[in-house]
Structures are given as structure tokens and as C-alpha cells.
């Protein structure tokens, strides 16, 4: 993953870790349903051609979302993810990362 991000993202991540408190998983659940659920499916399980995004570390999800928010392409659906990540605040990214870390699909 790091090879995609480069030093710029690492600096961003380091800065964020000093300025943002731990995410709120409940708030992340709400935000997930507003913006992410339709493509990635319930609890980030991954559906259709959209990948599973749950079960990753908070650091992983945070870095991915920040990379997309910065406008950097890191995969074939980057255009969509850049569009979706642009309006996210630092707090919302933390909340989403906290929610997705342990999210599990229950039918």
C-alpha cells in the first residue's frame, strides 16, 4: 500500500494522527450509509465489482481515504472514489475507519 501513497501521504497521515482523536464507529456507520453503502454493500462486505473494505486497520482505511481525497489515483475506480472522498472531513474519515475496522455483514 505504501508504494502507492508516497511520502506526501505519509506526512498527511502523521499530521492527522497528532490532531484527530479516535473515530466514532457509530457516527461512521451513519456516514457509511450515506455515501458508501450503495456500492460497497452492507458493512463494507464488497458487492459486484466493488471491493470489500471492512476488516482493515484504521490506519489503512484512513490512508486510503486521504489519498483519494487528495485527488491521487490508486486504482481503476479512483475517479469514483476521489469524487466520494472529496467532501469528507478529517473527523468523518476517522469515523469511517473506526466503523469499517469491525463491521460485519448480517443478512
Amino acid at each position: 500500500m505504501i508504494k502507492y501513497l508516497g511520502p506526501f501521504a505519509l506526512i498527511l497521515t502523521a499530521g492527522l494522527s497528532n490532531s484527530v482523536s479516535a473515530g466514532d464507529a457509530v457516527a461512521g456507520d451513519t456516514r457509511y450509509h450515506q455515501s458508501c453503502h450503495a456500492c460497497h454493500g452492507p458493512a463494507g462486505k464488497g458487492v459486484s465489482s466493488y471491493p470489500k473494505i471492512s476488516g482493515n486497520s484504521i490506519e489503512y482505511t484512513r490512508e486510503k481515504l486521504m489519498t483519494y481525497r487528495s485527488g491521487q489515483k490508486i486504482g481503476p475506480n479512483s475517479g469514483l472514489m476521489i469524487m466520494m472522498a472529496k467532501p469528507l472531513s478529517d473527523e468523518e474519515i476517522e469515523n469511517l475507519a473506526a466503523y469499517l475496522k469491525d463491521a460485519k455483514y448480517k443478512k
Binding site: 453503502h37 450503495a38 456500492c39 454493500g41 452492507p42 462486505k45 458487492v47 459486484s48 465489482s49 486504482g75 481503476p76 475506480n77 475517479g79 469514483l80 476521489i82 469524487m83 466520494m84 455483514y105 443478512k107
Partner: protein
């Protein structure tokens, strides 16, 4: 591991009950009781089904293969794809990528005698010297004819009856730009036992209006893959083509009253559509660059322009890159447009049987739900009443299921129930009971 679900779930029927208790009953309208029963869960991207009179169900999973669920609930994995396990046999050439993989499944009209099935899938067997870039021919979608063994445990006699439907091999600079994009893939047996194959434009600008490439087309062929003798495409076109100018057709069915074919297809940030097909007609999608007043476009594909990566009023997009371009004299105008939005229409099936009451004959249309740029997500199944001439609608009602999911595959069963596959991994059976 997938397993049959024994419990039954009665869906929300609130809207039906409200109607039946007041306006509907007083007017003598038959609003049916709709009930939803899970059939299978824990599947991996279920895509399409075919249901037999005894309840046997054949179904595809996009990245695994073809399976059969017996009436007693037992599942037999019949024909797998490369890398899948637990199947009686498999095709090493079959693969999945992005939106592509094993997709449509249909049964021969004489299935009870010949046990023949037809399956659409992505395959690398016929790439030949193509597929080196996105800007050349890449024959990567096929239709297979398979025979179910007498002991119902395997399939044999694989014959590839169509081998030259194009596939997108590489990523491109588009919003849904991965390989395998716009792969169509629905398969149905229509009037006379002919096979209808719905395709997508595979993100190549010249596909839909090309006379020879099969991408962006609806094909009508016999069970050997030969053109229907009455197909009437324009001069110089491949005779297997029934209609052309399509973007990405994942829904096709035939109106019970007259056998007329209707498609449902995704729009590009705008204009999901249902279309009444006309033999040889043009659905009006033409995403080529330097065409119809457009300039150069990313990777020679204007399908998401203008400003393809940014939110924009769908009406502005529709005027620049129309889904049904009226400059074509042979345009098949859409029967229905999704209020200008693209929410991802997928499969469609006409509701058959008087058990559906006032909904009998309507086109059940599944919507996956895509909510970009302020568009409501809209996951649902609409029941669309279509006018006799096929050029408009006269009713539209959301099916009261009690849940919203990515509705991928819809097909009627012989007992007049509707089977529904969702991307989340389930297949449901929806029944309707007349209240009169």
C-alpha cells in the same frame, strides 16, 4: 457455505394493504399480497437464474460458476470458472474481472427433453491476436451450450455457440474504468425458442454504432449461434444483430401479450432507460469522440462527458451525451426514462399470471442503486405498466419488498413467482396472491 433457508419472511405489504383497505377495494382493484421468501444466501455475486416447473433453479455466480438448486434445497455445483473449486467440471478459460464474469443463464425451450442450458461468460479462449490494448478488437465474451447429465450432477458437451462478443481488457480513464466494464451479459430464450443476448459497449466509443463488432448490441440467434433468419439490421451489419446502439443492457424480456422484446439498461450519470425493441433498430447510444458536436474525450470514449469526474446536472449531461440520440432516423425512443437519473437499472421481467392482480403484465425492473452527484440511490424494483404501443408507461409502482438491496437478476418462474438475485449474495422468491 450456502444453504437453503427454511424460514419465510413476509415482506412489508403496507402500501398494498392501505390501498386494498380503501381506494383499491372500493374500486374493485385487485392489489395482491406480496410475500418474499429467501431461497439461498451466502452466495458470491449471484447474477442470473433459470427456474424449472418443479422448482429446480439454475443460477450463476459471477466469479465462481454455474450451479443447480434442487427442489429439496440441495445445491450441486455444475460448471466452474478458472480457480473455483467444488464443481463437477470447469472451464480454465472462464474468468471474472470487474463487471464481467459468468453472467446470464437460460434453458432451452425443449429443456425437459434435451436438458440444454445456455450460459454467457467471459473467456480468454478466443482472444487470438487481439486484446493487446483497449483500442483494438478483443473477443472475450462467449455463449456456451451445455447439456445437463441424466443424473443431474454435471454438465457435458460444452459447445461455444457465440465466441466473438467484445470485452474490455484494460483500465481506462473513466469513472467506472476498470477492465470488464459495460459487459452486458443477460441471456433469455424468446419467442420461437431463439436466444437473445444482451451486450454492453465495453467502454469503446465506436462499439454501439459499429456494423460488425457485437459490443453494444442485442443479438437474436438460434441454439447453434446462427442469426435468426428474420433479423433485419442495416445493410452491412452482422446478421446476428437484432438491435444496435446500446450502452449496457442487463435486462431483457418479452411482453406476454405480444412477445415484443423490451430492454432495461444503465444510463451514464443520467437517463436509465427501458426500450421497446424494433427489429434492426438503433437505441441511439454513440459515445465516439469527434462526433455529434463533441471533441476529443478521455481514451476516445465520451460516455461520461462532460466533466466525467465531477458532479453535474444530469440534464446538462443528457444534452451533451444523450442516451437516445434523436439525430438517428432509426432511433427506438425510450419507453421510460428514470426521471433523468442514472441509478443503475439492471434486470427486468414481465410479471405473468393473474395472481399479480393489477400488476399482471407490468415489467418488474431492478435498480442497483448508484447515488453520485446528488442523485438519490434508489435501490428498488419498479413495476412498470407499459402502453400497448410500447412507447410510454401508464403506471409505475415500487414493489413492496420491505428491504432495499442491489437488485441484479430478475426472472419469472413457471409458477408465476418472481426470483430475485441481489449483489449482497442472496436469491429470493417473490410471490403474489390475488386478494379476490
Amino acid at each position: 457455505m450456502k444453504q437453503a433457508i427454511k424460514h419465510s419472511l413476509v415482506a412489508s405489504v403496507a402500501s398494498a394493504l392501505v390501498l386494498s383497505g380503501s381506494v383499491a377495494m372500493s374500486a374493485g382493484m385487485d392489489v395482491p399480497m406480496i410475500k418474499v421468501t429467501p431461497v439461498l444466501e451466502g452466495l458470491d455475486k449471484p447474477w442470473d437464474m433459470n427456474v424449472r416447473a418443479d422448482g429446480t433453479m439454475f443460477y450463476t455466480e459471477k466469479c465462481k460458476g454455474l450451479s443447480m438448486r434442487s427442489p429439496d434445497g440441495k445445491v450441486t455445483n455444475l460448471y466452474g470458472m478458472k480457480g473455483s473449486s467444488g464443481y463437477s467440471s470447469s472451464g480454465a478459460d472462464l474468468f471474472c474481472e470487474g463487471q464481467a464474469g459468468m453472467m446470464g443463464v437460460a434453458a432451452d425451450r425443449n429443456f425437459d427433453q434435451n436438458r440444454r442450458l445456455y450460459v454467457a461468460s467471459t473467456s480468454n479462449k478466443y482472444h487470438g491476436s487481439g486484446c493487446k490494448t483497449n483500442f483494438e478488437r478483443c473477443d472475450g465474451n462467449i455463449v456456451m451450450r451445455l447439456t445437463l447429465s441424466e443424473d443431474l450432477k454435471s454438465v457435458t458437451d460444452r459447445t461455444d455457440i457465440v465466441t466473438d462478443i467484445q470485452y474490455k481488457p484494460f483500465e481506462s480513464n473513466q469513472p467506472f474504468g476498470g477492465p470488464g466494464a459495460h459487459n452486458g451479459g443477460r441471456l433469455r430464450v424468446g419467442p420461437g425458442g431463439y436466444l437473445w443476448i444482451a451486450g454492453g459497449d465495453r467502454h469503446r466509443g465506436l462499439c454501439p454504432q459499429s456494423p460488425k463488432l457485437l459490443c453494444g448490441k442485442v443479438l437474436r440467434v438460434d441454439t447453434n449461434g446462427n442469426a435468426h433468419p428474420d433479423n433485419n439490421p442495416p445493410a452491412g451489419f452482422d446478421k446476428r444483430i437484432y438491435t444496435y446502439g446500446h450502452r449496457n443492457v442487463q435486462g431483457i424480456d418479452f411482453r406476454p401479450s405480444d412477445g415484443k422484446a423490451f430492454t432495461a439498461e444503465h444510463g451514464p450519470w443520467h437517463s436509465d432507460e427501458i426500450t421497446a425493441l424494433v427489429n434492426g433498430g438503433n437505441a441511439g447510444w454513440d459515445p465516439q469522440e469527434m462526433t455529434a458536436g463533441r471533441g476529443a474525450c478521455p481514451d476516445k470514449y465520451c460516455g461520461y462527458e462532460p466533466d466525467q469526474m465531477d458532479g453535474k446536472d444530469p440534464a446538462v449531461r443528457a444534452s451533451y451525451m444523450p442516451m437516445s440520440d434523436t439525430r438517428f432516423a432509426d432511433l427506438m425512443p425510450p419507453t421510460w426514462n428514470n426521471n433523468g437519473w442514472s441509478q443503475g437499472t439492471s434486470s427486468a421481467a414481465f410479471l405473468k399470471g393473474d395472481n399479480w392482480g393489477i400488476y399482471e403484465g407490468r415489467l418488474a425492473t431492478g435498480v442497483l442503486g448508484i447515488g453520485f452527484g446528488g442523485t438519490p440511490i434508489g435501490q428498488r424494483i419498479d413495476m412498470v405498466g407499459i402502453t400497448p404501443d410500447g412507447l410510454g408507461i401508464n403506471a409505475i409502482t415500487r414493489m413492496p419488498l420491505g428491504f432495499s438491496k442491489r437488485f441484479r437478476g430478475l426472472v419469472m418462474a413457471p409458477d408465476n413467482s418472481l426470483y430475485v438475485a441481489v449483489d449482497e449474495g442472496e436469491i429470493y422468491r417473490v410471490t403474489a396472491t390475488s386478494m379476490q
